[in-house]
Symmetry: C2
Subunit: 226 residues, 2 copies
């Protein structure tokens, strides 16, 4: 006698193990990538669709419901003006930052293989900066950066040997940098030197010194494959 799976009974590994339990919640297809998007900041439904090329709208809706039920994500209605519903991580969901960054640190080893069809989104590389931040190179600095990549704006503050990231910022930036996603990737991966990109115009320095830009890309450089 087969028991029919009715909607709502979630599949589980059925193991009393912390790793398996975590994967029960976030191990399904797309789920950790949704979390990745939300680690950069709150997002509207259509922002998520945009940031997750290939996901079906039905699947996104389903995953968001599951994440809400697991209390990893909550939806919030922004007050007017600009009324909108956004999804954001709960405190519990924030706890996934370290695992996701750790996964990204390893995954970087596989980015050497470029594939032409691959999508790129500025936010992914801002998150990579968080993963590859090199504390040793940040010592003594105190700089607020504003990055404008393909029109999207991000703020990075390096201070007291720590880096903080966000899309809004109270602080007036010391450095404002504008570029496109291609140049951004090449500068982080070390394939293009920031100085050269500034000269060619691929990187535009609106506020600040060239030297601060070079320092930025040194602090957040992707580790070179061996």
């Amino acid at each position: 006698m087969k028991v029919k799976y009715h909607a709502g009974v979630k599949r589980s590994y059925g193991q009393y193990c912390a790793v398996a339990r975590a994967l029960d919640l976030v191990g399904e297809r797309w789920t950790l990538l949704i979390v990745r998007e939300l680690l950069v900041g709150p997002r509207r439904y259509t922002d998520l669709l945009e940031g997750l090329p290939g996901i079906g709208t039905n699947l996104l809706a389903l995953r968001l419901r599951e994440l809400e039920k697991a209390e990893l994500v909550q939806r919030r209605t922004l007050p007017p003006p600009g009324v909108a519903t956004v999804y954001e991580l709960t405190e519990l969901g924030e706890g996934l930052r370290e695992p996701v960054l750790a996964l990204g640190r390893r995954g970087g080893r596989f980015l050497a293989e470029r594939r032409d069809r691959d999508e790129r989104r500025p936010a992914w590389y801002v998150l990579s900066m968080e993963a590859t931040f090199d504390v040793a190179l940040a010592a003594g600095g105190d700089v607020a950066y504003e990055l404008r990549v393909d029109g999207e704006v991000f703020h990075v503050e390096v201070r007291d040997g720590t880096a903080s990231f966000g899309q809004s910022s109270r602080r007036v930036p010391d450095v404002i940098l504008a570029t496109d996603v291609d140049t951004f990737v090449l500068a982080l991966s070390g394939e293009v030197r920031p100085g050269a990109a500034l000269t060619s115009g691929d990187l535009e320095l609106l506020v600040g010194e060239r030297e601060q830009v070079e320092r930025l890309f040194r602090m957040f450089a992707w580790p070179r494959a061996a």
Copy 2:
């Protein structure tokens, strides 16, 4: 028209993002749990089946092939006596240790909810010890432990503020401890005090001092939920 399962190009998220790339390789169902098993030590095919209750044998075989192709896992044929093929992590696969442990650290929050049907395996909790190791409590110590849990043997060496784990060891243990998986879990989670378990006989101290046992379970205690 039916096509054998070679023809299918592997599904990919198609994103030039380190997290997505990592999930292309290890994001499918069961894959990270296979890695979890191998993080404790090399395993034979049937060991893996045993340690992954619920996996289908076809799926295990398929996943191992994928992991081999991705060069995260390799198979090795042990020399006689005891001829057998084992699977083990490559150096690249070893790189998944941090992400898996990080996931487990978070997943621990969800273990408060006990479910009766959940399987338990000693190795999972030895891996949890690696995830929850508290450096501050290990300072100054130099102790080699042998843990025998439901007949499986593990070695833990705490030295110079670091802990190393394995199933074989060159060093003669200072402490030998035997128990069953239930007691092991309860002692790690803090629900049973090691002293009480020693008294009741659930925990057997074959070599060493009671005080070393209490120290062990303090160093590797699961963080208490808030």
